[in-house]
Structure formats: C-alpha cells, structure tokens
Symmetry: C2
C-alpha cells in the first residue's frame, strides 16, 4: 500500500492509473478505524480496480468545544488495517497540506444541513462539504463510498455531487453494528463500561420506532415520541434530538407513507452518539 | 468544431483526449461574443492542445430585475466565431441540462464577493461560483481562461479553485478595448449612439485615477474621488460605485503602496457597465 501525504503525490498516481485505464473507489475517513470503515473498503473493492482511502481529521467540521483535539488518532494502526484489507493507496495529509491558508470558500446546503445534527453542530456540514469536495477533487475517483450511519452527511454529499456535477458515483453502505446493536463509531472508544452498556439505547429506541410503524402507526410525531421515550428511560442517556424525516429531503414527516428515516443523537455522559434507521412501509 | 449540448457528451470526449494524452484549455462564456472573448480563445490556444469553449447564459447569476431575459443570444454567430478561431469543442447546454432541478448547494466566498459588484448584485457571485464549479467539473480542463474585465469574478474563481483543489490552472487575460478605450462587453450592444459616446467615461475615469497615482497621490480615498469626479461630469452616466482596492483581497486600500485595482460600475441609461484598471506603483 502506498502512503501519500501530498496532493501532488496523489495526482501523479491518479494520472498513472488513467493511463492504465484502471478505476478507483475512494473511502474518506477520519481514521480511528473500526469494522464499519473496513466494510466500506470491502464494498469499494467490489466497485473499482483499486481502493483508495484517506485518513484526515478535518478541523473545519469540528465546532468550538467539540472533540477535535481529543479525537482518537493512530495512523500506524489505521495503516495496517487498511493494508490488510487490500487498500492500494492511503492519503494521509497534514492540516497544512489541506489548508495552507484559511479557506475563503463556503459550501452550504441549507435545506439539508439545517436540521438534525446540523441544528446542534452549526458549521459542521459546511466543513464536511468543503473537505469532501476537496478530497474528491484531489483523488478524482470513479466511486466514493460513505457509511449510512452518517445519513445526513451522505444525503448532503449525494446532493452536492449532483449539484456540482462532480464526476463520481456515490455509494452509501449499511451501518455495521456490534452484536448488541450499537452502531460502530470511532467515538464509542470514549465510553466507560457503564456508558457502553447504556449506549445500546440508541439502537433499542430506533427499533421501538420501527415496531410502532410495523404495528400500524403512521403519525410521524407519535413515532418520534416512541423513539424518544426509550431514550428517556435510560438514566445515563440524554436525548439531543429524535426525528422522523424523509430519507432524501431530511424534512420532518408528519405522515409516514412509504419510507421514513428515524434518526437520533444522544449524549452518553460527555460522548455524543448518533444512529438512524431507514424504515420502509410495505 | 464539435457542438455538444450534453454533459455526458463532453465527458465522453474528455476521456478520449485523456487516452490520447491531449490537454484542454477552456473558455467559459455567456455567448454574445466579441473580440474580448476571442482573445481569450487565442490565449487558450497557447496553453493547451485543444481549446474548448462554452456558451451558457447562466440564470443563477442574474438577480430579479436584471437582464437575463434580454441578454443577447445568437448561438449560430457565436459558433461561427469560435470555429473560425480554432475552437475544437463548443459546449452549449440548455438550462435543464445544467439545472435539472433547483440546486440545493450554495458556494459563497463572502470576503471576496460582498464588496464591489457583489454589494449591488446580491447572489450574483454565488451563481458564478456555482456555474463555474459545474463547468470545470464537466469539462475537466488543464487550463481555464477568464477575462480581467470581470476582475472580481476572476479573483473569486482563482480563490475557489485554490480552496477546493480544483485540478485546473486559472489564466486571466487582459481586457480588450475599443479604439476609444471602452472595454469590450456584450452589454455594449444595449447602448444607443449617444450612450455609446458617453460610455467612454469609464475608461477615462480610470485613467484619471491612474494619473493621480502617477502624480504621487497615495491616499486611496483621494484616488477614488478623482475617478468618481470624471463620471460625475458625464451627464448620461450614473455612478454605481468607484473603488480602490487590493487586487487580490479586494479590500479597500486606504494607502496605495504597491498595487491598486481601480474599479467602477456605471449606469449609462439602463445599461450597467463595469471596468477596472490595475495600477502598479514603482
């Protein structure tokens, strides 16, 4: 596996692959890799001749008081995991390579970014949109693979790619869960043992919402309350939001007709976790 | 010359050129071509193996009440002019091809876009940033060539390309002027005979500012007033703004040390014209 830290190095390699007619599927990450990331790599391997990944903890998507400083970093471990999964090129730039000066350009998708996590993390999705646009322009892959756990992020990127005619196909791969249902996340590493047990409340709450829909509930607010009630019953959990939205537009659904995304953010102690579940009504 | 109206058609041709190892220099236009555009084509021909141009009157960069509807359109004439100047491919999409639905993505560079023309055309440079980002993603040229007459636009695009790591080099070519100094512009076609004579006031005003600097004036506001006074003396002209700014940051210069951009927008009747002059202090 090639480890490349400069934009110029990535571009040079990309030119070689074009000459060889080889395609690339790209998996951008912030490192601290877990099995969820590695399944994105597995999916990417099915799509293109080569899998490329990036590890970059992007400062512009963290707000003041968020966990940019303490976000887990272990490039050696990430590198070994990606190499073991068949990644051909790892792009791991420093902050100065990605942002030689503060960017003057803002990319925003207000309709998609203002609700859900965006309401509690102002500027977060602007940072995501900027860094993903940059990474796609640097790596110029045929495919880019994102995880469904960050559903709002994936919806924003899909729309950004469409709106800007970025020449890439976006693939969104399913959330990978621990045996007890907890969605895999780099931030799970922050949890103490009691918190780790309490963290299963997110998946349990989503399943309760799904069960309500399966039982015939079609009122979005009633489903939302069923989700929220499960979180409220867990002493170590503090609900930030629970929402029932259209999976594409991310706008709240008053009535569930066909597809609904159940989404929530919960603090377990000082750790903020998110999860979501797509429910299709037959 | 190939005339292509679809994004897919352009991408297919671009892939062929990659395989042949041939480079592209791209000249985006809104049509209604004049010698100023054609000199951009000439410059582009020096930079790459093929020159590509686009003709697209971009609705998202016109504000309500601006001249989107009456903006001059003559694709047959534009096509002949571009073919005659050696353009290999003309991309002339319809609005539905570029915007199959209203874009949800906003690209803004507030520091660069809020002053000068941006103060009087809210949303204009968002529209420019969006369409140029799209056109560069569609054509994927090695070079893109813009005119210095739209200096603020060129400064914004240069910064956008840097911030987003768009893999293109931006070339800004000098303003082309009529023998009496009027900067060439598609909007000059709106001018009646008296207005056409009055329109020379823009270039005369800029030269007066340049003369003031040459005579030792270093106070930005004094130079700005020298420019504005020339416009004020022309009965058919109505000054929208005159400014003395840093050529890169576009921020007003209180003191002129090295380089200054003199810029102005003037209404001649109902026609809004802009012009600018870069002055270097030796």
């Amino acid at each position: 596996m090639l480890l490349i830290t400069t934009i110029a190095g990535v571009r040079a390699r990309r030119r070689e692959l074009w000459q060889q007619g080889r395609t690339v599927a790209f998996v951008p990450t912030m490192g601290a890799l877990h099995e969820g990331h590695l399944r994105l790599v597995d999916r990417a391997r099915e799509l293109a001749d080569e899998v490329w990944a990036s590890v970059f903890v992007n400062p512009t998507q963290f707000g003041p008081g968020e966990d940019f400083e303490r976000y887990p970093r272990d490039l050696e471990r990430d590198r070994a995991l990606l190499a073991g999964r068949g990644v051909a090129l790892l792009f791991a730039p420093g902050v100065k390579e990605m942002y030689p000066r503060p960017p003057a350009t803002v990319i925003d998708l207000p309709e998609l970014a203002s609700g859900l996590c965006g309401a509690f993390r102002p500027g977060h999705f602007r940072g995501v949109a900027l860094v993903v646009t940059k990474l796609l322009a640097i790596t110029q892959p045929e495919w880019a693979v994102f995880g469904a756990k960050d559903w709002q992020q994936a919806a924003i990127i899909r729309r950004l790619v469409e709106d800007l005619d970025v020449p890439v196909r976006v693939e969104v791969a399913p959330t990978v869960r621990e045996p007890d249902g907890l969605a895999m996340s780099s931030r799970n590493a922050y949890l103490g043992p009691d918190e780790r047990r309490a963290a299963t409340v997110l998946a349990r709450a989503l399943r309760a919402g799904e069960a309500a829909i399966a039982a015939g509930e079609r009122d979005g607010e009633a489903v939302r309350q069923a989700v929220a009630a499960v979180v409220a019953a867990e002493p170590l959990a503090q609900l930030q939001y629970a929402a029932v939205v259209d999976p594409d537009s991310l706008q709240p659904l008053s009535r569930i007709d066909r597809r609904a995304l159940l989404a929530l953010a919960v603090h377990i102690g000082t750790t903020r976790l998110i999860d979501n579940l797509l429910v299709e009504v037959s």
